[in-house]
Each structure stands twice: as structure tokens, then as C-alpha cells.
């Protein structure tokens, strides 16, 4: 460093220094002062004053310093796993799986583990608020709850007709749905419309309709993976986000190494190698939407060549009447030899099962594809057999659950249409974020401007709550009562209980209590229909219906004893395994349909298929406000705090793109920019984008991530067979922008042709 430069050139400073140190110090003097200064640090006081407060009234079950555990239900995804929460002196410290719960048996996934950050999130609403500066102003004025409820009552009373009231729900707990449906019915209003993105990406409503068509009941199938020897998974991301990932993962582990001398095989058919495919023995990159063709071909081969050991396939021949294996092979991009190999393995196995997954449901031919896959289970006689497919068995819990589980996208579009036409004067939104979760092209953002008054129950200010006039924040799930009938279920009837593990932190109110308070204020039929004092009494009465069942895992001598055990166990389930053997409808006596997939966008203009997939950490975006989940690396790309577009290496090199380049992704409906991840496990004609980022609201952790929501690209088209959103049916094109954005990856890009940070 240049000695002339630096602070001593500054004359003002120099004169100050001269005052303090009139002449240069000798070394001895310097050391004396230094020693003294060091010793002077010993003058700092060694005692601090800490206040400890005793309990005024000590809780009976607590021992200070020891943890108390409360059983409840996780609500981070639709699965409904049982949890136990460790609390110390009224603070929740750790969530674990409930070891007694038949669904997850003590295990819990990353999202469940992150639940504490929902409860203790710094961006929660602390009271009921009005958006006083108008929608989108982000100016909130707190309201007293009685005033808020009066306001809502007035709005309902002022409606010119009950058909002008609409309720849009998402991942509502079963009990809340029941109560809501009851209130709306008493008012003469339409039943709740239920839509949530995670369920759409998992194909829940499609799966339910498939069950109805194939098995004659809308209950979701339960696949007995732990006892299978060969599992053919068609687009089912069963180890990451599909249906009941914890239960399926536990079964997967047992399938692999839980049986001496026996190791099950997993084959994954999908266009992008998911973490499930990474765990599989073979990944087959099928052309998007052609998975059903693969299943048809396999079925045809088994029947035609009389493979396997279940006896005659004569009765199944009709199913494959119109199937030509070569055609199916060409249409799906899977060589005939591979199809044969799969058919042999599937048929020869002692116990095999085929699983129609979420990816299939997201295509426009989803229904027929899923039917074709499910038919394979019939061909190897695995319907209702160990290692095969069963139907979720609600048993005595059937009365407690919501039915139907999830509405079709068509019904959501109908609601949007009514909103746009000015037919809705009051919209209530609970546990849903439609502005974020619906394809932008569905037009919800425009439709909501036509609704004069919007109420949100969200505990966070999310993209939809910003468009609400009134926000009545619900408790977060760790502060809530309730129950959830898991769907798909376990190997026996089960319903999961929910109880607050801590006192509600803020002046929030349970949505069920809001509805009960509202009903009381409205009087008349609503008050009669919802005659309970509060949510807890409603629940106690409702679950009391299980008290009389002799199937239960525990015995109670009195109803209030049952209520106590219900909470201590974490729900009710049957003591013994009771699997329900499905019946088959006459759909198995007709040829299976062969319907081609259809895509939005001309292949010339839009050469790639877009695959927006649910992220194992962020789910459908609901996990984006939790720092633990944002920082947890994505299993396949190892990216933290980011979103990206995955491109096949050959495609990338043809386009002159490499890792971290920002590309514009454009569909016929929208466009976004995203950094690239070169992804070996994806078809050259497919690009994949994880769902979950691109939040404009929802709190600091969600908003500080630069990213986009791939739902802005998705075409609002449906599968005519199910009415479900065909989110996988959009084509896109890519354009390099010349810019770079470095993703926070766990792995280094060294040795992949470039350094990770320049």
C-alpha cells in the first residue's frame, strides 16, 4: 500500500491525533498501556441478572424442564400423517411422526418437520384486519373479532340471494369442510368449491374418478408396496410428493430391504427422472401423455403371449382388443423389446402392482391412461391381493370425512365464470391461494375484481389475501382443533385427530369458530344447523360417533374418556388390519380406450413440453415462507432458495445454453425467465420447472427469492374424462437471454465445464 496514501494525509485527523498523542510512544510505554487495557477488561461485571417466573397455576401434566408431547395431525400436504409435538413450557420445540399412527408410524417428511416455522413465522397476521386502503394497498387496520363477525353477518344478510355467495376452499381439514358445507346448505348457497394446486398436481380428483369408474367407489386406492416384488409406477412420484409420500416411502423401504432374501423392483415411467425414478431400478422416459399406451402394450403382450402364472387371460382379451403393440411402441417412444421385458417381469412376479400416478392425471388423456394402468393389476390378478391394490377403507370413519374429496377444475372454471359475470357478491376463501395456484390464464385475478367483497381466512398475507377486503386469520395447524380422514388411507380405517399443541400465539380465531359465530348471528336456519357453542364441542360430538365402534385400537368407558384417549392416541383407528377388497365394474368387460394426448401450442412454434412439478420442499408453493424448506436442497438439482428450468444436455448444447444461463420460457399463455439447470434425466423434448417460487406476497422468506411461478405458463385446459386441470399439456419455447443467474447449489459445478462462481 502506498505510504503516502491513507488516513494520515488528512490534516484534520492529523491534528486531532496530535492532541491525543503529542509525541510518538516508546515501546515500553506502549506495552504498559496495552497491558493495563487488557487487565481493565477484568473489570467487566461477572454477574448478570436473570428473572425467572414461576407458574401461577401449574398445568397438571407438566414437569418444568421436561417436555410434554401432544399428538396432532400434520397439515403440510393432503396426506394427513399423525404427528407428536414436543413442547417445553408452552413452546413447541420439535415435531415427530406419531409412532402409533397407522399411516406414517412415527415417520415424517421434510415438510412435516418444518411445521414449527408455520407456527412461529415472523410474517403471521396477529389479528383480524380490514384492508383499509383498498385492495392491494397493503394497509391493514385491525378489527375486534365481534366487529369482524358482525360485518360478515351484515354482508351475508345484504345479499340479494344465497346463490351470490361463493366459498372457495383448498386443503381444508375434513371437519371444517363438513361444517362449511352444512352452513352453506342452510343458507341455500352453493356447496364449497375445493381446489388446491398440490391436489391438482397429484391428480387426486382424477384418481377418485378413476376409482369410481373402475372399482365403483370414489375412495382412493391404496397400493400395498411393502409386499410387492415388481412395481411399475406410471408417473407416480410416490417417494416425493404423490398422495401419501411418508407411508409410501416406509413401504418402499420395506419392499427393498425389509424381507429376507427378497428385494422388490421398481420401474418408473415418466418424462423426467424424479427422485422416485432415482430410487428405481430403471427409468423409462416415455413420451408425455403416452404412458397409457405403454400400459396397454404391456397388457396386450401378457394376454396375447399368455405370460405369467395366474392362469387364463381369456376374460381380459377384450380389454386389449384394439391395441397394436408396435403402434403403442412408436407412440410412446419405448422399444418393443423393452415393452416385452416389462411385460415378462410384471407377469412372472409373485406379486406385482401397477400404479397410475399424478403425471398421467395432468394430461388431456389422463382418464384413459390411468384406466389402462389400473387394468394391468387386473391382468396379474393383484386386485385385492397382497402386494397389489386395495381401496382405502373408511369403515366407521366414513361419516366423518368430506365427500367428494376434491372438485374438478371444471367446477373452478365455472366459479370463475360466475365471478366474471358479476354473479358473485361475496367470496370467502379458506386454505387456498387461487391467484397463485391457478393458471394465470384461468382468469381468476381478473374475475376477483368483479366481486364486491372478498374475505380471506389465511393466517398469512398471500397473493389472494391481498385482494381481500377482510382477512380473518385462522389459527395455524399447530394451534388448531380438528380431524382429518387420510386419503388414501392406511391398511385399516383411520381418522387423525388434531389439537392445539400450544396456546394460539396471536388474536387469531379458528375458521370453524368464525362460522359458528356467524351462524349464531344470522339466526334462523343457519343457527339451527350450526348449533354448537364452539369448534371443540362440535368435534367432541362428531367424533363421539366412533365411541361405540368395537373395532377401535383402544377402549373407553365413557364418551369423555373416549375424547381424552382420542387426543392422547392422535386419532382413532381399528386395532386390526382391515383391507377392503375392491369390486370391479363393467368397465373391465369393454375394450380400453386409446386416446391420444393433446397439447396446447403448435409443435413448430413451441417445441418443448412443459412439466411443472410439485417440489418436495415447497410442495405447491405453500412451503415457500419457511426458511428451513427454502434452504433444504432440492434432491435432484441440490439448489437452495431458487427456481430453475431443467433442460436435457443435448437440447441445451443445441441451443447453446449452459448451466446458470437465464432463458425465457414462453407458452401460448404467458412467459417467464428462469436460470438453467442442465439435467441429464429428462427427455430432449421436455423442460421441467419446479412449482413453488415466484411469490409476490406471503412473507419475507417467500418474497426475497427471485423466481417465477410456472403456473403463469400453463394453459387452462382439462382432461374431458375427469374435468381435472391438464397442467402437463402445455407446450413452450425457449430463448436464451444472454444473462446469467447463479443458483445456490449444494454441489459444485467444477468439472462440468465451468466454475460455479466467477
Amino acid at each position: 500500500m502506498n505510504q503516502d496514501a491513507g488516513i494520515l494525509k488528512d490534516n484534520a485527523l492529523r491534528s486531532t491525533l496530535n492532541e491525543i498523542m503529542p509525541k510518538a510512544l516508546t515501546r515500553r510505554e506502549f506495552l504498559k498501556i496495552a497491558a493495563g487495557a487488557t487487565a481493565a477488561t477484568g473489570l467487566a461485571p461477572a454477574v448478570r441478572s436473570i428473572v425467572i417466573e414461576p407458574f401461577v397455576h401449574p398445568p397438571e401434566e407438566e414437569l418444568p424442564g421436561q417436555a410434554t408431547w401432544y399428538a396432532s395431525t400434520c397439515r403440510q400436504c393432503p396426506a394427513g400423517c399423525g404427528i407428536i409435538v414436543r413442547t417445553i413450557e408452552g413452546r413447541a420445540k420439535k415435531i415427530e411422526g406419531n409412532p402409533l399412527h397407522p399411516l406414517n408410524r412415527g415417520k415424517l417428511c421434510a415438510r412435516g418437520q418444518a411445521g414449527l416455522q408455520v407456527l412461529y413465522n415472523p410474517d403471521r397476521l396477529k389479528n383480524a384486519v380490514r384492508q383499509s386502503g383498498g385492495r392491494g394497498s397493503r394497509q391493514f387496520e385491525p378489527l375486534y373479532w365481534p366487529d369482524a363477525l358482525d360485518l360478515l353477518r351484515d354482508k351475508i344478510a345484504a345479499l340479494s340471494g344465497a346463490e351470490r355467495l361463493a366459498f372457495l376452499g383448498g386443503l381444508m381439514p375434513s371437519h371444517a369442510y363438513r361444517l362449511t358445507a352444512r352452513l352453506l346448505e342452510a343458507l341455500g348457497a352453493a356447496p364449497p368449491v375445493i381446489y388446491d394446486l398440490q391436489s391438482a398436481l397429484e391428480g387426486r380428483s382424477a384418481a377418485s374418478q378413476l376409482s369410481l369408474a373402475f372399482f365403483g367407489a370414489p375412495d382412493l386406492p391404496e397400493y400395498d408396496l411393502s409386499q410387492s416384488d415388481v412395481v411399475l409406477s406410471f408417473g407416480a412420484n410416490l417417494l416425493e410428493t404423490w398422495m401419501s409420500p411418508v407411508a409410501q416411502s416406509a413401504a418402499y423401504g420395506a419392499m427393498r430391504q425389509g424381507r429376507m432374501g427378497r428385494r422388490g423392483l421398481l420401474v418408473q415411467f415418466e418424462p423426467r427422472l424424479s427422485a422416485t425414478a432415482a430410487s428405481s431400478d430403471e427409468w423409462i422416459p416415455v413420451k408425455p401423455g403416452a404412458e397409457g399406451f405403454v400400459a396397454l402394450a404391456i397388457g396386450r403382450i401378457i394376454v396375447e403371449e399368455r405370460l405369467g402364472h395366474v392362469g387364463s387371460h381369456r376374460s381380459q382379451a377384450v380389454l386389449y382388443q384394439n391395441v397394436d403393440v408396435r403402434d403403442m411402441s412408436t407412440a410412446s417412444d419405448v422399444p418393443v423389446e423393452t415393452l416385452r421385458r416389462m411385460a415378462r417381469a410384471f407377469a412372472d412376479a409373485d406379486r406385482a402392482v401397477a400404479i397410475p400416478g399424478g403425471y398421467l392425471a395432468g394430461q388431456r388423456n389422463g382418464f384413459s391412461s390411468m384406466l389402462a394402468v389400473q387394468a394391468l393389476n387386473l391382468v396379474v390378478a393383484q386386485v385385492g391381493r397382497q402386494g397389489g391394490v386395495f381401496l382405502s377403507n373408511p369403515g366407521p370413519t366414513a361419516a366423518l370425512r368430506q365427500n367428494p374429496p376434491v372438485n374438478s377444475f371444471d367446477e373452478v372454471m365455472d366459479l370463475i365464470r360466475r365471478m366474471k359475470a358479476g354473479e358473485i357478491d361475496l367470496l370467502l376463501v379458506h386454505s387456498a391461494n387461487p391467484i397463485y395456484e391457478l393458471p394465470a390464464a384461468a382468469g381468476f385475478a381478473e374475475a376477483i375484481t368483479r366481486v364486491p367483497f372478498v374475505v380471506s381466512f389465511s393466517p398469512f398475507v398471500d397473493e389472494t389475501a391481498i385482494w381481500a377486503d377482510l382477512i380473518l386469520p385462522d389459527h395455524t395447524y399447530l394451534e388448531s382443533w380438528g380431524y382429518q380422514v387420510p386419503s388414501p388411507g392406511a391398511d385399516r380405517p383411520v381418522v387423525s385427530s388434531q389439537q392445539p399443541v400450544v396456546r394460539p400465539l396471536y388474536d387469531t380465531l379458528a375458521a370453524a369458530d368464525v362460522l359458528l359465530g356467524l351462524a349464531a348471528r344470522l339466526g334462523g336456519k343457519p343457527a339451527d344447523a350450526l348449533a354448537w357453542q364452539d369448534e371443540a364441542s362440535y368435534l367432541e360430538e362428531t367424533v363421539g360417533e366412533l365411541y361405540g365402534s368395537s373395532l377401535g385400537a383402544y377402549d373407553a368407558r365413557t364418551p369423555s374418556g373416549f375424547w381424552a384417549l382420542w387426543h392422547q392416541y392422535g386419532g382413532w383407528w381399528s386395532e386390526k388390519q382391515i383391507r377392503r377388497e375392491p369390486e370391479l365394474t363393467d368397465v373391465v368387460q369393454k375394450p380400453l380406450a386409446i386416446s391420444d394426448p393433446q397439447f396446447e401450442g403448435d409443435p413448430q412454434d413451441y417445441p418443448f413440453h412443459l412439466y411443472p412439478y410439485s417440489s418436495i420442499t415447497l410442495t405447491d408453493g405453500r412451503g415457500a415462507n419457511l426458511p428451513w424448506l427454502q434452504e433444504a436442497p432440492d434432491p435432484m438439482t441440490t439448489v437452495q432458495w431458487g427456481m430453475w428450468v431443467e433442460i436435457n444436455p443435448t437440447t441445451a448444447s443445441a441451443l447453446g445454453i449452459s448451466d446458470n444461463d437465464v432463458v425465457q420460457v414462453e407458452s401460448p399463455h404467458g412467459s417467464l425467465e428462469a436460470p438453467v439447470v442442465i439435467y441429464p434425466g429428462i427427455r430432449p423434448d421436455v423442460v421441467a420447472i419446479p412449482v413453488g417460487q415466484g411469490h409476490q406476497d406471503y412473507g419475507r422468506f417467500a418474497q426475497e427469492v427471485s423466481g417465477s411461478n410456472p403456473l403463469t405458463l400453463v394453459a387452462p385446459v382439462t382432461d374431458p374424462g375427469t374435468g381435472a386441470l391438464a397442467w402437463g399439456a402445455t407446450r413452450v419455447r425457449l430463448k436464451p437471454t444472454g444473462r446469467k443467474q447463479f443458483l445456490a447449489r449444494l454441489e459444485s459445478l467444477d468439472g462440468k465445464g465451468r466454475e460455479s462462481l466467477d
Binding site: 493495563g36 473489570l43 441478572s49 436473570i50 428473572v51 425467572i52 417466573e53 407458574f55 414437569l63 418444568p64
Partner: protein, 170 residues
Amino acid sequence: MTRWLTLLSLLIVASVVVGVILTRAQVFAAPEQPIAYNHQSHVEAGLQCLFCHTSALRSDIAGIPSMEKCMGCHNIIATDNEAVQALTSYWKQSQPIPWNRVNQQPDFVYFSHQAHLGAGINCETCHGDVGHMTVAQPVVKMDMGWCLDCHLKQPENKIARLADCLTCHK
């Protein structure tokens, strides 16, 4: 100049010595409490340590008795006493008494009352003759050296565990 500096250094050293003496004295001083609770009178009345500090036997922390426990007796006993009246006024307002902590370890130390009581150590060993104290005060600086003095005097077969850093450092 040099003299001035020497005097300054001596002054600093003297301050340090006085400061150390004063702070060590502070360690042994009883912190002021919002109510002048008298251990001696309660022990003379027949109370055992574990009657109030119940969780010491089964938990890491000994705990401070809840207001409910105090009022269990003081609803009717010694109600004319000034301290009891102060207690009652806290109770009536449902306010916990803000006691000042007497014994405290830093965050990186793990101490378990349960383990020590389980090993047969009684309260006076570490806390002194609390039965003859009025306001509770610390009798010894509970630093690591003091803990190790006792840990290293234990039977041979236990020393490996008791001298292991991980036993007390979390």
C-alpha cells in the same frame, strides 16, 4: 511524560484488582428479590427442599414453586406478614412473582438435577446450608473447576464419563 504514563498504568492495575474483588464479592452476594422470601423460617416449619423444588428429582431443573403452591398454605397461614401480603397481591392479580435467579449456568453448559439427585447428592452439597439462609444466596462460584473437583473424586468406573466434556457441554 513517562511518569504520567506509569501512574496511569498503576491506576489501571489498581482498578482491575479492586474490580475483581468487587465482582467476586458480587458473585457471593444474594441478588435482591421482589419479595423477601425466607428459607429458614420455612425449613424450620418442616418443609423439605423437594416440597417446593419438586422437579429436581425427575427433571433437569429444580424449578421455582408455583404461586398456587405458596397460596396453598398462605391462604390462611401468616396472612398478617408483610411478605405474605405481597405474595397475596401478586396472586390476586394472577401475576407471577419475578424472582431473580440465584444460580445460573451459561447456555453451553448442561446440568441435570435429576442425574445428581439420582447419584445420591443432596441439595446442601452444592447450594449450601439453605435451611439457615434468609434470602437465597450462592455459596460458591459454580464454575467448571468446582464441578470437576467433585466429578474427579468419584469412583474409578464413573470418572471416564464424568470427566468427558460431552457429559456437561451441550
